[in-house]
Subunit: 239 residues, 2 copies
């Protein structure tokens, strides 16, 4: 099918899947060791090779070391997190407040990946029908970086509990530049065997077979695919 020189060796293929299955959203295990520049450069290059609508490449990368800046972002998080906690009552509220949801000051480096919504001019190829595909492209860059970080032994945590307008103010972003992903980055003491929210009893992984459909929403997925999915080895907590 594919020609030989396009084939991955078993170890290469295993490396990709390992990064996918062992990647974690890290909040609590950061070590203070600095991130070497050559490693950081490889992560940024991985992000920059994400696909983007119309080859727009709408991303910029803010490398945030300043503790003053990070304290300002942490203050935004604290305010937003207090407001979010009010949605949960009783035992669920207690559990929410016990969760550690960011490593802004614990990690040696913060990284904001932004989306410049005006890059490439007013008519970006492929963006006419779905205007937010620039944001979607930037997400693909985030995932490339996240996986490369795992392969380099680095943890990444995405802090989404922060008002984007206020964050844009702290980072002095110009109009039209959206702070899509505020990430904490660093070496870690360990990668947890399963997602932290699952381990904490907050929410569990859904069975994949329940998420498969056929030609339309109301059509069943082909039985052979359902059987193949049901026969996969579980990946969480399996190593």
């Amino acid at each position: 099918m594919s020609s030989d020189h396009h084939d991955f060796s078993p170890a290469e293929r295993a490396g990709l899947y390992r990064a996918i299955f062992e990647r974690r959203d890290v909040r609590s295990q950061f070590l203070p060791d600095p991130v070497p520049e050559d490693v950081l450069a490889r992560l940024l290059q991985a992000a920059h090779h994400a696909p983007s609508v119309g080859f727009m490449q709408p991303w910029d990368f803010l490398l945030i070391e300043s503790r003053d800046t990070r304290r300002a972002v942490k203050a935004l998080f604290d305010g937003a997190n207090d407001r979010a906690a009010r949605h949960y009552a009783g035992e669920r509220g207690e559990r929410y407040r016990r969760l550690k949801l960011e490593g802004i000051l614990d990690s040696p480096l913060n990284l904001c990946i932004t989306c410049d919504r005006n890059r490439g001019g007013p008519h970006v190829l492929g963006r006419d029908s779905m205007f937010d595909t620039d944001l979607f492209s930037t997400c693909l860059a985030v995932q490339n970086l996240w996986l490369a970080a795992r392969a380099e032994g680095l943890g990444v945590g995405w802090v989404s509990i922060v008002d984007p307008d206020a964050l844009a103010g702290v980072l002095a972003l110009p109009a039209g530049v959206y702070p899509l992903a505020y990430l904490c980055l660093g070496y870690v003491s360990e990668f947890l065997p399963e997602p932290e929210l699952a381990a904490a009893g907050w929410r569990q992984r859904l069975p994949l077979t329940g998420l498969l459909r056929g030609d339309t929403w109301h059509t069943e997925a082909p039985e052979a695919v359902l059987q193949a999915v049901a026969g996969l080895s579980p990946q969480d907590a399996s190593r």
Copy 2:
């Protein structure tokens, strides 16, 4: 830094980077060979292990084989693409019309990855300040699948030139389910050495050093990082 059993072997790490750098948005190189169920199952499992806000896992996967359904989607593409082409005049317009931008009927399988905006209830952890993080999470699943496909020798093309409301109609999606990514999937005759839009002279890759900043938008990135990035080997057209 990281403990030994968390380290990737050089071949594992190379496999991840290879998938990242050799992944392409495929439109023209699809082969008709069917995608084996066990391979498809691994791709879906890879997608399902993407991170998601509050462990929301908002995605569903529609496996679209029906040629009637695909012809209906192709008709939506044709209409949207005609409208988009009007944005470009003269030589640019000619060039636009020569680009092949989808493989809906050429590929053996179409796959729509949707985002259920109501999954997990009204207050999903981490989504309070950035409501669209459910869409962003679904993008991360798309990228996992795209990379896994490359490692399995399969090409993927994302068709964004289609009105999402009309597409939701064709696929009978219920209210609140957004057709985030309409993908064409299949084995390919080759993976091009560089992105098709670059090869076609539409738009080139931006220099990464120009996208790096420091603690704020107006602060320069650290010189040591800029130097490390400038010293990276180029990845396009290098294999």
